[in-house]
Amino acid sequence: MPTIVVEVMPKAELLDPQGKAVVGALARLGKNEFRDVRIGKRFELTVDGPVDDALLAEVHAIAEDMLANTVIEDVVSVHQAAIETVVAGETH
């Protein structure tokens, strides 16, 4: 089934405590080449019908209004998932 992917990231200028904890853990594993890790969110919205520009625009509006809080987060991407990127075993 068609899936629309929404990706949300914490704003670059804000502290991301979770990302900071992960980069600290990587350093303790000897992986010192990573300066920074930031953790965002990926939403997958599945629809029955076809995905057109109007639906993508509606999802973008929903993303700005509810899926993200634009005071602290940015909606970085709204796009239709290519079939092969959807988790294997859940499609076809």
């Binding site: 914490p10 200028e13 804000l14 502290l15 405590p17 979770q18 904890a21 509810m66 899926l67 809080n69 005071v71 602290i72």
Partner: protein
């Protein structure tokens, strides 16, 4: 005076808020998140807890609950609204208050008896405090770090919308040590610490003179009663 307390799925401190309202001398009215009815109350408290499991973001789903349409209309018409902890997060998510909340900078849930300074005693919920009063009420949260962009921060600092600031310890990394803010009009106030847990001697925070004797939270509720009496 009748003060509504809205219960959401996952609210924890709704009955404590009702009890605090009664102790202050007003009548608490239980309201339900799924209704479109404020039952004619004169003020509203959004209580603490973990509404809707805090899924998505703390307070985010609750800010879209059915009753919030009426709360937003009432707040914009001047009704006093107090958001405590999760209720503060809801008011920020509903854009009734400036800023937003993120995970505590140290990643831990924290509970402590917290000292605050009352920075603005002209709001509906703080008029019974002296300006600059130092109070102690309990704090308990995981997502309590107040953040706002530079422009918003300059505006709310300039307008006196910073109502409470953390003293001695900034428990969650909040910008400018901000514990609570108001809207421009001063009828909507939100804060992370819990005034409703400091309203009855024997059950409040520890104070220098006696354990569990703190009742500084009671003045939030006597303030709104005084504001109502003047209106």
């Amino acid at each position: 005076m009748r003060i509504g307390v809205i219960t959401f799925p996952g609210s924890l401190d709704d009955r404590d808020a009702q009890r605090a309202i009664r102790l202050a001398g007003a009548e608490p009215v239980a309201l339900w998140h799924g209704d479109h009815d404020l039952h004619g109350v004169d003020a509203i408290v959004l209580p603490g807890g973990f509404s809707y499991g805090d899924y998505l973001r703390a307070g985010a789903i609750a800010s879209h609950a059915p009753i919030m349409a009426e709360v937003i209309d009432a707040a914009n018409a001047g009704m006093p609204v107090l958001g405590i902890c999760n209720g503060f997060q809801m008011l920020a998510e509903a854009r009734l208050l400036p800023g937003a909340h993120t995970r505590n900078a140290h990643q831990q849930f924290i509970r402590r008896d917290q000292k605050l300074r009352v920075e603005n005693n002209r709001t509906a919920w703080t008029n019974q405090f002296a300006e600059g009063a130092e109070i102690v009420i309990p704090l308990k949260n995981a997502d309590g770090r107040f953040v706002a962009d530079a422009e918003t921060m300059a505006r709310i600092e300039g307008n006196g919308q910073v109502v409470f600031r953390y003293l001695d310890v900034n428990p969650n990394g909040s910008m400018n040590d901000i514990a609570g803010v108001s809207n421009e009009r001063g009828n909507v106030v939100g804060l992370m610490p819990h005034p409703e847990h400091a309203t009855e001697a024997g059950f409040g925070p520890n104070m220098p003179d006696a354990m569990r004797s703190g009742t500084d939270g009671l003045r939030f509720f006597t303030s709104v009663i005084a504001a109502f009496a003047r209106s």
